[in-house]
Amino acid sequence: MRALTWHGKHDVRMETVPDPRILNPRDAIIEVTSTAICGSDLHLYDGVIAGMQAGDILGHEFMGRVVETGRDSPLEKGARVVVPFTISCGHCYFCGRGQFAACDNSNPVEEQEASERLYGQALSGLFGYSHLTGGYPGGQAEYVRVPFSDVGPIVIPEGLEDEQVLFLSDILPTGWMAALNAGIEPGDTVAVWGCGPVGLFAVQSALLLGAGRVIAIDSYPRRLDLARGLGADVLDHVQTDVYEALMEMTGGIGPDAVIDAVGMESHGFGLGAFVETARQKTGLGTDRGHALRQAIRACRKGGRLSAPGVYGGMLDRFPIGALMQKGLQLRTGQTHVQQYMADLLRRIEEGEIDTTFLISHRLPLEAAPEGYANFRARPNDWTKVVLKPGMG
């Protein structure tokens, strides 16, 4: 089959690789009909996530039709499914609590020790996202093997287009969980750093959950326009001092909740941001935290910080004093996708949520390397790339 493989920083290639096959009783094989490039794929593309190996198949947002099932898979051949990017067994302590992204049994034993050394406990398995999370082949391919197919994939009713439901695999539930983690109460003012796909869905979700005002922060006009289209006020951090603006807009109190949808490659303009970028690019540091620091500083006393943005390692100058002294609550983590899929699918079916507004480009799977290069280099225009195997 054809698949997009990782070979190093800014080096991804379409290659012919062996077809996947059933390895365990609960597996299924999916023929991919649509897949997408995620903002977090760019962290892999930029080489800032540990544990990648040459030849790894990328992609964790995908959907398709079931073409093969293991003995214990309940899926029927031909069923159309969206697959969560988190691989979860459904029976461990964590899955039993709905913490599917913390599953204890989906990361192969041989791969667990690296993340255990880094983080204290082994991470769960994810599709196409480094060997820290299992080294599972991803979905930017013609076919994917899906372990625990009785827990993850959700069957999509006919009548819904791929693009209406594809983002159930990651970014829609990630934006939704980010808003839930912000503990939004009716009338709250919520500030969202980053108007990439997750940030935009966080804006949409915050408004759905009753926020009185959402303030979206980015520097790309098209992305800010999309946020404005959802009903947010917008701040361009190039032309406006974000902290001063937020204080002014909230009467000196600060936002009730702040959401960092930027993560480890945030931009800043001061000397500290320059040093942090240099350290990351030379391998002397791992994460850049400009947006996170700004969010903590701006958040009101007793407010809530939700951080769906991806961080991988260590962060210097983390404002633990502000976090403690202001009594902020912090919630973060990979998304427990399976917990939210059914509810979000219902909201899509009922027309409450539209997910297609952020798609800027549709490309054949074979053009995936071009999609990555442009998504990285032209973020103003390339807001979301959907890849279609077999597209002419």
Binding site: L23, R71, H91, C92, G98
Partner: protein, 243 residues
């Protein structure tokens, strides 16, 4: 004429080494005194600093299931290959002992027998030891304790191997227990790529509802039928690829 007022570098280095050594020795002595005066509840394997009487290699895992079925699994010698992590063969002998052949590259053959423990708490543990004449020696013990709050069972393994194998044994044990947890909780061992099967055994009966011991309030996937949730479902000769 040489300048005798300057200290030669080797003397300075020796002095620093001596000071460092004394500091470390004083710290270890202080730890030892503290341990004697006020022994805490930490497991012996987790002792900090220099430990001369380090116990056998060991590891623990919490399994979301009651102890009864977990112990039944390990009473069957055919399940021992799960500990090795590589395909291997266990052959039962007429006297109740069994020979574990780790295969090419796996080391010498191990001739083991189950030991009936009589000490307090033995009812919650299983033990094995090598018999005289075995090509190598080993002692192993698995203990099963209920986790606090009814959250499954803490399974602890201890293995004594010949000197030089202890570090490897600990890492192997940790992996083995995690494979066991996967099999017990999910019925399969997670794989990201094809790997030789570990010869999953014919299963003993599995306790019904073994997985429900600590289910929270969060939404869960639709429960599977009992037959499907049997963690020992993979049977020798079964083809997981068969629909």
């Amino acid at each position: 004429m040489p300048d005798r007022s300057r200290t030669p570098p080797w003397k300075a280095l020796a002095g620093l080494t001596l000071i460092g050594g004394l500091f470390l020795a004083q710290r270890e002595l202080s730890r030892l005194r503290r341990r004697r005066a006020f022994p805490d509840d930490g497991p012996a394997r987790a002792r900090a600093g220099l430990v001369l009487d380090r116990p056998a290699a060991g590891a623990s895992v919490r399994v979301n299931a009651p102890a009864e079925g977990l112990m039944a699994f390990w009473r069957d010698p055919a399940n021992l290959p799960l500990l090795a992590g590589t395909p291997s063969v266990v052959t039962s002998q007429a006297d109740g002992s069994f020979v574990w052949d780790l295969g090419p590259g796996g080391g010498p053959r191990l001739h083991l027998r189950r030991v009936e423990e009589t000490a307090e708490g033995a009812g919650d543990s299983l033990a094995w030891e090598s018999v005289p004449g075995s090509e190598t020696t080993a002692e192993a013990r698995l203990a099963f304790r209920p986790a606090p709050g009814g959250r499954g069972t803490i399974v602890s393994a201890e293995v004594r191997r010949p000197p030089g194998r202890a570090a490897a044994a600990e890492a192997e044990l940790r992996r083995a227990l995690r494979r066991f947890r996967m099999l017990a909780e999910t019925g399969e061992i997670a794989l990201a790529k094809a790997a030789p099967p570990l010869a999953p055994p014919d299963p003993p009966a599995w306790p019904k509802g073994g997985f429900a011991s600590d289910a929270g309030d969060a939404p869960r996937p639709e429960p599977r039928a009992e037959a499907e949730t049997n963690p020992l479902r993979p049977r020798r000769g079964d083809d997981p690829c068969a629909p």
